[in-house]
């Protein structure tokens, strides 16, 4: 069990820290937001990230990746979380790339993985159909028609759905609407006839989309993994996504907290720094404790992935639930401690709170993951 970073990982962390602070500071997110940027992230910056190897972190060298592994990716995501950097890391690397890596046949791997690693191909996972994460509740249908399929249905909250070049769609090929079996993944060009994409403007200024599929034609070559066996792939992909999001949230809470501790030392009332008040000291110390606990959880979850341990699902739910709760606590407390200034758009703390909430519900809220943890643990 490795709960400390090795030298290579420390180097990667330092590179990522410097990169995000210099090239993707919070001011950049504000710029994208205020200019209503059509892409929602900076494509040139994404290419720079690809050049640093961030896009190919989970991809083997054979396909042009850097293969730094899950811990490496976690290290990068944590730093991205600190500056709220908008990028397709979650949609394309954590979810799309992992799905192709895990389930893709030789042709699919060869076609997509090098392009992903090069930052030239954007993917989106079209999974959710309602306001709550539910990876087995799939009503989008894929009906067999000879050797082809016709897909119809509606997807919501598709991360980076409006800019993705390709969509991975979870559709039902058999079974009832909540069955785990009978779900098939299709890898579709986003421009395929019958696909309508509508951008959703989320509170965190990141990208998502609602997508309708109207009799969209898909061939056998576009099936990712096996027909009816999509859940086996999804389970693994989603756990990678959950653990990655937990790593991002760790960076987010650490930064929000560090900023707030600085504020407590600077802001004066009654002639003294407000950080001298015990009412605030204790709350700050409690947050510190929670963040330290979270750091251990994230590191162990990443290690579980890296070492292919059989408790990955359990650790994914632990990490996602624990970080979601701590992100809520810390962003709420930090906002309160900033007083009226925390309520202004000028201060960054509100941006941290907004991103925290979106990250918290993405791929399952704390409620979802406590329930899942209990089931996985046999009670």
């Amino acid at each position: 069990m490795a709960l400390v970073l090795n030298e290579e990982q420390q180097l990667l962390r330092d590179t990522a820290m410097q990169f995000f602070q210099e090239r993707a500071p919070i001011a950049q997110l504000r710029k994208l937001r205020d200019s209503k940027d059509a892409t929602g992230f900076d494509r040139a910056l994404w290419r720079e990230m690809a050049n640093l190897g961030f896009a190919g972190i989970l991809i083997s060298e054979k396909y042009g990746g850097t293969d730094f592994g899950p811990i490496g990716l976690g290290v990068v995501l944590e730093q991205a979380g600190r500056t709220l950097a908008a990028s397709p890391l979650v949609s394309t690397v954590l979810l799309g790339g992992s799905a192709i890596q895990l389930a893709g046949n030789a042709t699919q791997r060869q076609e997509y993985l090098p392009a992903i690693a090069a930052g030239e191909c954007l993917l989106a996972l079209a999974l959710e159909e309602g306001p709550h994460h539910n990876p087995t509740h799939i009503t989008t249908k894929a009906e067999a028609e000879g050797s082809n399929f016709r897909i119809s249905g509606e997807k919501v909250f598709v991360l980076d759905g409006h800019v993705a070049d390709y969509l991975i769609v979870a559709a039902r090929t058999s079974g009832k609407e909540n069955d785990r079996n009978g779900i098939t993944l299709f890898l579709l060009d986003a421009k395929t006839k019958g696909i309508t994409i509508t951008r959703s403007h989320m509170v965190d200024s990141r990208n998502a989309a609602s997508i309708t599929f109207d009799n969209v034609e898909a061939g056998n070559a576009q099936v990712l993994g096996s027909v009816d066996g999509g859940s086996d792939v999804l389970d693994q992909v989603l756990d990678i996504g959950r653990i990655g999001l937990a790593a991002e949230m760790l960076g987010l809470v650490q930064e929000a907290f560090d900023k707030t501790v600085e504020y407590l030392k600077e802001r004066k009332q009654f002639g003294v720094p407000i950080g001298s008040f015990q009412a605030l000291k204790h709350r700050a110390a409690v947050m510190f404790a929670e963040i330290e606990i979270c750091r251990s959880v994230v590191l162990d979850a990443l290690t579980a992935l890296e070492e292919r341990r059989n408790d990955v699902p359990l650790m994914a739910s632990l990490a996602k639930a624990r970080l979601a709760e701590t992100a809520r606590l810390v962003t709420n407390e930090c906002l309160q401690m900033h007083g009226g200034m925390g309520m202004t758009d000028q201060f960054d703390i509100g941006l941290f709170m907004k991103r925290a909430r979106v990250a918290a519900v993405t791929l399952g809220s704390a409620d979802y993951h406590r329930d899942r943890y209990a089931s996985l643990d046999g009670f």
């Binding site: 069990m1 720094p273 110390a285 510190f288 330290e292 590191l299 406590r370 089931s375």
Partner: protein, 397 residues
């Protein structure tokens, strides 16, 4: 085979030959091997096991051999721990001397004092108690007033201590005394003396759990030889603080039973037994089930944090800041666990004694009450949070 593997092999063989079978079973409270002049041995094997372990210095594995310790390096000590765990061996000695006083003596005492006291601690011959808190000095420990006067050829001690754990059973006390009334922290000294000295009286205090592990301890003109002062006069606060650290480490371990419910198995097993299950084998109450999941997650997260802290220390990484939260987090976690157990067992956790309750259930009740003290003793949660705010976060006074 490398040296460590040889050590493991030899250790395993020695334990096999020397650990009596009854010492490999769960230990009832009354068989706790505290040692001391008036030790009770309800199970004679406990004494045999203590003597065997002490003969190798393995009750204090890493202490130097000249002081009776095992002289093991960290890797060897870890292997010994693992091998003891493998056969589920009971501790050979439960001792404040080992956990708290010994490490402080090794660091601050002179050679004569080390040679005098450490071997007796290792062998369990002398049972120690800790004279820290006073009625007027709890969280503000440095405000202690127990007076110690220099009478030329001896010290004279007058005053009162409180919350002295097992003072009525202990042989000696390590005690903080005031040797200078004009200064606060710099007027405290660290003194050792025999509880059989004339003028010492210990009165047990009955706690809410019904047990009396703590005493009020009174000192009236107690004569103490001058060689019993540890470190320099008026420099006892440094020793006191270091020793508190050992005490806090000892207490924070209590949070590690994240999901356990003593003799009733895991929290989830107890919940299934006392609440029943739904058609899919889940705990019948969804609300309770969710709280158990939360508790188990927090327990796992906490033990991962202890592991991370150890790995960081070994790798020379990190600031060691994480360890400052252990006492706070571990004790709060333990208190929450007992509150949850109370809800799991319902009225069966609210019996006091007699028929209608299993011993395991009565143990939960008493332990729940006892757990309330975890976040008070050895530095309250509030004091711990103050320490984090000041030392780690650098927030101003």
């Amino acid at each position: 085979m490398d040296a460590l593997e040889t050590f493991r092999q030899e250790t395993r063989e020695w334990l096999e030959a020397n650990c009596p079978p009854s010492m490999r079973t769960p230990m009832p409270e009354e068989e706790s091997p505290w040692g001391g002049r008036n030790a009770q041995w309800p199970n004679p094997d406990s004494k045999k096991w203590l003597d065997a372990m002490a003969s190798r210095g393995w009750t204090a594995p890493t202490w130097p051999m000249i002081y009776g310790g095992g002289g093991l390096n960290k890797d060897e000590a870890r292997i010994l721990q693992q091998e003891l765990g493998r056969i589920k061996a009971r501790p050979a000695l439960t001792s404040f001397g080992i956990w708290m006083l010994g490490p402080a003596l090794l660091e601050y005492a002179n050679e004569e004092q080390k040679l005098e006291h450490l071997p007796k601690i290792v062998r369990g011959e002398i049972r120690w108690c800790q004279g820290y808190s006073e009625p007027g000095a709890g969280s503000d420990l440095a405000g202690l007033q127990t007076k110690c006067e220099d009478k030329g050829d001896h010290y004279l001690v007058n005053g009162q201590k409180i919350w002295t754990s097992y003072a009525d059973k202990a042989d000696w006390i390590f005690c903080l005394v005031r040797t200078d009334t004009s200064k606060k922290h710099d007027g405290i000294s660290f003194l050792l003396f025999d509880m059989a000295s004339e003028g010492v009286e210990a009165r047990p205090i009955t706690m809410i759990s019904g047990a009396s592990p703590f005493c009020e301890t009174f000192f009236t003109d107690v004569k103490v030889p001058k060689e019993n002062l540890v470190g320099e006069l008026n420099k006892g606060w440094t020793i006191a603080k270091r020793l508190l650290q050992h005490e806090r480490d000892m207490i924070s371990g209590m949070g590690l039973g994240g999901g356990s419910a003593g003799g009733l198995g895991g929290l989830e097993k107890a919940a299934k037994d006392y609440y029943g299950t739904d058609g899919e084998g889940r705990v019948a109450s969804p609300a309770l089930r969710e709280r158990i999941a939360q508790q188990k997650m927090d327990g796992r997260a906490f033990s991962l944090t202890l592991a991370r802290s150890m790995q960081e220390a070994k790798a020379g990484q990190g600031s060691g800041a994480a360890s400052s939260i252990f006492k706070y987090y571990g004790t709060e976690l333990n208190k929450r666990r007992y509150e949850l157990l109370l809800d799991v067992l319902g009225t069966q956790a609210l019996g006091w004694e007699g028929d209608g309750f299993k011993q395991d259930e009565l143990d939960v009740t008493r332990s729940w009450l006892r757990s309330k003290g975890n976040s008070i003793e050895g530095g309250t949660s509030e004091v711990q949070l103050n320490v984090v705010a000041k030392r780690v976060l650098g927030l101003p006074d």
